[in-house]
């Protein structure tokens, strides 16, 4: 039986560490040092967390009807 956590455990620990702000334990860090795939998960969770905070600059826009309704609501 391995003393190191499994890939399943490490994927959960990586997610929990993002929320708790606490560093990963030693056994999870050792797992990461020898597991390329779980290192990818660590990097991808970080990219995901960063990327989603950006508000999109293009794409959807308010309908003309909605804009008219908003203009009416803002009239003094």
């Amino acid at each position: 039986m391995s003393l190191l956590p499994s890939c399943r455990d490490v994927s959960r620990l990586l997610s929990e560490a993002r929320d708790s702000g606490r560093p990963l334990g030693m056994s999870a860090r050792i797992h990461l040092s020898i597991c390329d795939v779980c290192r990818r998960v660590l990097a991808q969770f970080e990219i995901l967390g960063r990327a989603v905070k950006r508000a999109p600059d293009a794409g959807a826009s308010l309908s003309n009807e909605a804009k008219d309704r908003l203009r009416r609501a803002l009239r003094p």
Partner: protein, 187 residues
């Protein structure tokens, strides 16, 4: 402060896109923008000019989004189906990732690739594919940066349950973005 009669044209679309990237319902987004603009209108005297007008309005909109998601999470608690849906287990075969589910290399410079409008569109599709409470938890925690405990309180779940929802969200979004954007299956 600019004339409020020009706010809809100046800021309406950008506020709408911000809301729509976090809330699926266009009509609800329009209502939140109306509430935001009215709140800004009524509190113009509080605007100190320390930030851009749009930044100030997005701050108001973020509070409206938080309250909206909080209300929704309370009105529609976790369904049994959502509670039991632990499809992440299928990604593992014993201790390791299965060959099919193992995360792929996202290539080149994924941070840069995540700055495109195409990425935003794929992300929106991936968020829409999440179950409602998994999506709400992710929006509050990762997109809006609400603290873990405050997020659990807003969702009406214990912190341990929130951790499960966030794990599901990250794993499903990671996979969806990989398949749909970063490393699609070769044609």
């Amino acid at each position: 402060m600019t004339d409020p009669s020009g706010w809809v044209d100046a800021y309406g679309d950008r506020l709408f896109r911000y809301a729509l990237s976090r809330i699926r319902d266009e009509r609800a987004c329009e209502d939140l923008i109306q509430e935001t603009l009215l709140a800004a209108f009524k509190s113009q005297d509080k605007f100190k000019g320390e930030s851009a007008e749009l930044t100030w309005m997005i701050g108001i909109l973020r509070n409206k989004i938080f309250e909206h998601l909080r209300r929704q999470a309370r009105e529609v608690p976790l369904s049994r189906e959502e509670e039991d849906d632990d499809r992440e287990e299928a990604s593992f075969d014993g201790r390791h990732w299965t060959a099919e589910a193992a995360p792929r290399d996202w290539g080149g410079d994924p941070r840069r690739k995540a700055e495109t409008d195409e990425f935003s569109a794929v992300l929106r599709g991936c968020l829409e594919a999440l179950t409602p409470n998994v999506a709400r938890a992710f929006v509050l925690r990762e997109m809006e940066g609400v603290g873990h405990l405050e997020c659990a309180e807003a969702m009406g779940v214990p912190p341990g349950r929130l951790a499960v929802l966030l794990y599901r969200a990250r794993m499903r979004l990671r996979r969806c973005l990989e398949r749909g954007y970063f490393a699609p299956e070769p044609a």
